[in-house]
Structures are given as structure tokens and as C-alpha cells.
């Protein structure tokens, strides 16, 4: 037996040690728009982290003499208050900058919690089957029976507003989505021969779930999670808009839009800019996640 001829190996094998992950990453990087979005997303995160350094003013500093002051370029505006001021004379730009913290923090926290819970529940349901699966799947079915926003509104109405409560209200339902994805992938993966091979060798359930199956379902989960992140941010903003979000004076984009609604005839800038900020962040996440999906989950490839 001679060694299989090396020169004939497929072209992709030529780079030594390329992982599937890195290959996907490079596919992603080729998608200019997605890459740009990812960079913008990072920028948003940086803005959120360094808000105190970036924001030109204290977001909660009111100045009644600047009440409803127009944006810098408009008549009556000041360049140091670039996007104008709200009904209490607070700098809208600074509030948007600080507001990004809420959106990004809540979005990230909800997705992290949900993904972690979802992975564990999905793996358990999909691999262990039996009663565990029945219990988890039924719970998932039931939670899916609620329209998302209604569920969150109902919970918020009962629990009362507040940062932790929003995160909980969203995460209580959000985990279902990664859970379904993971369960489905696990069900498929457990029938795959490499799982069977691991069992044939004598590997334990935990080894199989964590070492064999999990790494393989991680990329669809990451893809789904980023897509969901955009939705969660809109949901949080919607709750804040309805007054069920974080408490004032903390700036949150949704409540900024809600606050500005009354002034819309006289001072369009008060709700327009925070709304634009939501649109931009969500758009950027959506574009980036679409790129991720195309690169990492070839089933969606077009």
C-alpha cells in the first residue's frame, strides 16, 4: 500500500491547519458589506463602553433654557449640542450615546442567557430524548404559543419595569429559539455516524454531547443568536417605548422616542434621532448576521 497521492488532494487542503471556522471566517470577510457592518457593530459597542469619554455632555444634565433646542445646523441650534436637546434641555447626542449601553447591554445579556440555557436544554432534549425531551419540547411548544411582544408585555406588566426585569422577561422566552435550533441539530447529529463512532469507542454521554456534538452545532447557533440579537434590541426598545422599560432618567432609545412623541410637531429631532439610532444598530446587526449566516451555515447559501 502506498500512501495516497498527496498532490491529488483537494485544493482546500493545501493550507496547512486551516480550520473550517477560519475558512468560514475568510468567506465572511470577503463579503464587504457584512464586514463593514461588523465593523460598525464593533463601533457601537465601543461607543457604549466608552460613552463617558465620548459623550459631549452629561446625559442627565437638564438645562431648561435649552428646552427643545434644535440641532446644531438648524436655526437656533448650537454646534456643541449637535442633535439638539429634548424637553428638559438634555443633549440628545449624549443621551443616544449613553442609550446605546442599554440597548447593547440588554441585547447581549438576553442573548447570552438565552443561548446558554438554549444550548443546554436543546442538547439534553435532543440527545437524551425520552422524558427530558418531552418535558423540554412541550415547554417550548407552550412558550411558542405566545406572541413574543405580548408575552414580554404581560410579564413586564406583572413584574413592573426595570433593567433586570426586562432581561428576564425577554430571556424567559428567547431561550426557546436557540433551544429549538440546538435540539434539531442534535437530533440530526446524534444519528450521524461520527457520533455513533464515538459511542462505539466507548465515549460517555457527556463527552458526546459536549465534545462531539456541541462544537458542530455552535455555528448555526451563533448565526441564529446574532439574528435574534437584532430582534431583541427592537423588542427592548418597544417595551421602553410603551413605558415598560428601564427607569428614567436613564436614557434608553425606546423611551427617548416615546418622550419625543408629544413634541413631534414642534421638535421633530427629539424622537427622530434615537429612532434612527435603533434603526442603524439593528440594520448593522442584521446585515452582519446575514453575512455570518451565508458564510457559516452553507445550507442557507444562495
Amino acid at each position: 500500500m502506498t500512501a495516497a497521492d498527496d498532490t491529488a488532494a483537494p485544493a482546500i487542503a493545501t493550507e496547512e491547519g486551516t480550520t473550517l471556522f477560519r475558512r468560514n471566517l475568510s468567506v465572511f470577510a470577503e463579503n464587504r458589506l457584512a464586514l463593514a457592518s461588523a465593523v460598525l457593530m464593533l463601533l457601537f459597542v465601543l461607543v457604549a463602553i466608552f460613552a463617558p469619554l465620548i459623550a459631549p455632555h452629561d446625559p442627565n444634565e437638564t438645562d431648561l433654557f435649552r428646552r427643545l433646542q434644535p440641532p446644531g445646523w438648524a436655526a437656533g441650534g448650537e454646534w456643541s449640542y449637535l442633535l439638539g436637546c429634548d424637553g428638559l434641555g438634555r443633549d440628545i447626542l449624549s443621551r443616544i450615546i449613553y442609550g446605546s449601553r442599554i440597548s447593547i447591554f440588554i441585547g447581549t445579556a438576553v442573548i447570552l442567557i438565552a443561548t446558554m440555557v438554549g444550548i443546554i436544554a436543546g442538547l439534553a432534549a435532543g440527545y437524551l430524548r425520552g422524558w427530558v425531551d418531552i418535558a423540554i419540547s412541550r415547554l417550548v411548544d407552550i412558550l411558542l404559543g405566545f406572541p413574543y411582544l405580548i408575552f414580554a408585555i404581560g410579564l413586564m406588566a406583572m413584574m413592573g419595569p426595570g433593567l433586570v426585569n426586562i432581561i428576564l422577561a425577554l430571556a424567559y422566552k428567547e431561550w426557546v429559539i436557540p433551544c429549538r435550533v440546538v435540539r434539531g441539530e442534535t437530533l440530526a447529529a446524534r444519528e450521524l455516524e461520527y457520533v455513533e463512532a464515538a459511542r462505539a469507542i466507548g465515549a460517555s454521554r457527556f463527552h458526546i454531547m459536549l465534545r462531539e456534538i456541541m462544537p458542530n452545532i455552535l455555528s448555526p447557533v451563533i448565526v441564529v443568536s446574532t439574528i435574534r440579537m437584532a430582534d431583541v434590541i427592537i423588542l427592548e426598545a418597544s417595551l421602553s417605548f410603551l413605558g415598560l422599560g428601564v427607569q428614567p432618567p436613564t436614557a434608553s432609545w425606546g423611551s427617548m422616542v416615546a418622550d419625543g412623541r408629544a413634541f413631534i410637531l414642534e421638535a421633530w429631532w427629539v424622537s427622530t434621532f434615537p429612532g434612527l439610532a435603533i434603526l442603524l444598530l439593528v440594520l448593522v446587526i442584521n446585515v452582519a448576521s446575514q453575512g455570518l449566516r451565508d458564510a457559516f451555515d452553507p445550507r442557507f447559501n444562495e
Binding site: E61, T62, L64, Q247, R261, A267
Partner: protein, 488 residues
Amino acid sequence: SEIRVGFTADALTLDPANHRNRETETIIRNMYDGLLTRDAEMKVVPEIAESWTQTSPTSFEFKIRKGIKFHDGSELTVEDVKFTLDRLTVEGAMGDGQTSPRKSLLGPVKDVEIVGDDTIRINLSEPWPLLPAMLPFQEFVSKAFVEKVGTAGMATAENGAGPFKLVEWRKGDSIIMERFDDYYGGSPDIAPVGKACVDRVIFKVIPETASRVAALLSGDVDIINGLPPFSIAQVEQNPNTKVMTVNGTRSVFLALNLHGDKFDDIKVRQAVAYALDKQLIIDKILGGNAVPIEGILSPAAFAASTNLPKHDYDPEKAKALLAEAGFPDGIDITIDTEGADKDTVEAIASVLSKSGIRAKVAVGESAQVDAKWDPKNDKNDGDMYFTSWGNGSLDPFDIFVPTHYTMGRGNASGYSNKEVDTLLDQGAVELDPAKRATLYQKAEAIVNADLPYIYLWVPKDIYGVSKRLKGWSPSADSRINLHDACVE
């Protein structure tokens, strides 16, 4: 011809005895009349009643006008009047063990007697000079009709004796009424007398402020309530619309927790009074549409003092007082409030902070904040509470007692002063108006010095009105009475 009102909220029910909601009352008061009503100067005048007399400290007699017809054509009798008052005041009279939520508005009414075929007598369990001032808020119903449709039916059906009758109630959207042609004409003290001027009246529910203003500007509606101060300029600039304001009846104030470790000291309370630039907030946030007050009473109220000492804005003095009280570095406080007033309270907080009273705002649900600042709650650990008390009767009894009497139900500060209590007790039974006024003025002077509250202002109600509307003016009790209004 038709008048359209762009209104903040829908009626909750059409049953005049089964709600405690201003908006509901504003709407249904156009279909129902009261025993008494108020004229433009807020003077109480007879409506269904022809006249009334106080026959003793605890009884009043009312003579009922003849020939008043309900919308179904039946005649209004003393039976109906008694029935209505019983329905409002007797425990369980609404059927199914229900009691009218308006019972407490008629306080010590004990019973109602028919003393002639056109006269009834209302007996009180204790002296209560307020009764005539409270009667304009009670609408009179037909006994036969209520017995026919029951309390459940009253929620959506109407048979009043008012100037308009119901055409259709589109829940959440609008209430359409048309002129009642057999109307007896309303109070003879308020001209014009006769049936209503317009054929139809529509209350259109537009909860969104901006939408309501837009509807006015575009000529969709003729009157809107709750015009925000910042929209005044727009409405004034529009050639077809104008702004109308009226002094309200609600006094706004900051309650200070007198049992806490900060505001138990009069110096700190004074510091707050000097630190608060009331006029600035009135100008900037309320668009100038409020009257500052130095005591609990609105300037329009009976017995209101006009010359109470003022605490003009003086941050230096405020800081000095704080230092004297042992807070040279200022103090940190939290102001509780409900969501609706968030704007104003945040402004107050920022103004106070400039004088070393570093204030944070905590917005809570009304029920929860109310419970916290209930005088019976001895575990209240709050500092300051931005709140208000309505005084639709414009009589001190209705506002002074609950907020300043020891353990009064609205005494959020936890204020207790024997002298004030005595003065208020006397005010309640004194029949001579002049003497009564002096009693209350004395009390006001005391609390102005004691400062259990920081008295802020009485906001005006602001309406946007189409210029084609004639003969209508807003009323201090926030009723929108369309009987007299006409359109060109």
C-alpha cells in the same frame, strides 16, 4: 351644525353613578344634568333644582323645576331625584351588592326625604358646608329607566335630562350625540337658556398629544383638551385656531417626609423653598400656564389668602440654611413621582441640585407610590413626593382637611399641628362665610410658616379651540359643556 371635540380619553362607562373618572364625567355631563351647576365664574347655581336652602347645619332643601323631560320623553320627578341620590349614597344600592364609587364624594349624606311633590331634603350626619359645591358633579337619572336596564345596562345606554342625547358610542373611538329638542333649557342663571345651539356633538378620542394637536390644526376637530404648553405657539400661529386657558382647581406641591432625618428640620424645608425656582419651571416647562401658590389653596378658591409671605428663589440663602442645619455639603434626596409628571419633576430635581440639594427622581406606579406616602404607613423612608390634590369644589374643606389635618387621608408629609386641626374643625361647621374665611386664612398662615409642603402652583387647563367656535369657554372644573356653544 356640529362640534367635534378631540379628547384625551374615552368614557369608561355611561353610568353616571358608576365611575370616578374625570374624562368620563366631562363626556356624559353633556347628556345628563345635575341638581346644581356652576357658571363661568365657578359660582354654584341651580340647574334641575329651581332653588335651594340650607335649613340647618345638617340639612338642605331643594325645590325641583317642573316640566323637565328625560330623553325618552318621560318627566323628571322628585322620585327620580331621590332615586339618583340614593343610588349614589346608599351602601349596596347599585344592585348585586355594589356601592357607587362616588359615594365618598357626597361624604356625610345620611338620607334623602321627599318633602313635597317638588321638594326633597338631604339630611347630613354631620355639618358639611360643601354639599352644594359637590352637587354639580352628580348627574340625575330616570328611576324607571334604571330599573328597566339595570346597572349593567346603564354602562352603555343613556336616558338623561341633558342638552344632548346619545346617538352612538364607538368604544375607544368616539361618542356621538345629538341635540335633545325637548330640553328644558338648563340653568336660567347661565345665558343662553334653551335647547343646544348645535345639532350634533362628537367626542373623538385622540389619546396621542401630537395627533390631537394635528387634528385641531387641520380643522378636523373644534376643541381639544390637554394642549401641551409647547404647542401653544403653533396653535396661536394657525389662522383658524386659538388657545384658551382656565385656572384649574388642582394644587400641586411637594410633600416632605417630616418623619425622616432631613425634613424634620424646618431649616432644610426652608432651604428647599428658597432653592426651588418655581417661576423658571412654570415658564419653561408649563409655558407660563400655572399660577404659583404659597399655601395649599388655589387663588380662585373660597378663602384663599392673597398676601402670604413668599420664598423667592435664593440659592445662597438655601445653601446657608442647609449649612445651618448641619449639611454644609448639601444633601442627597430622592423625589418620588408618577410617570405622567416625570418631565416636571426632573426639572425640579435639576433646579434643586444647583443649591446643593442633590435630587434623584424615582418614578413609580401610582398605586405603589400612593401606598408608600399613605400617612398610615409609618415605614415611609422617602424624602420628597411630587403630588397634587384636586379641589373641584373650590372650597378649602375639600383640600385643606385631607392634606393638613393630623392623619388626613392625603397628608403625605405626616404633618400634625393641634392649632391647625382646631381651625379646620371650626371651619367645617361655621355657617357664616366671612368667619369661615378668616379661620382658613389663619390656618394658611401657619402652614406657610411651618412648610410641611413646598406649595408649587395651580396649573391652568389649556384648550385649543377653532375660531369658528362661539359661545364656549373652558371651565375650571375641566368640564366641556357644549350646551352654549355654537359654530359659524
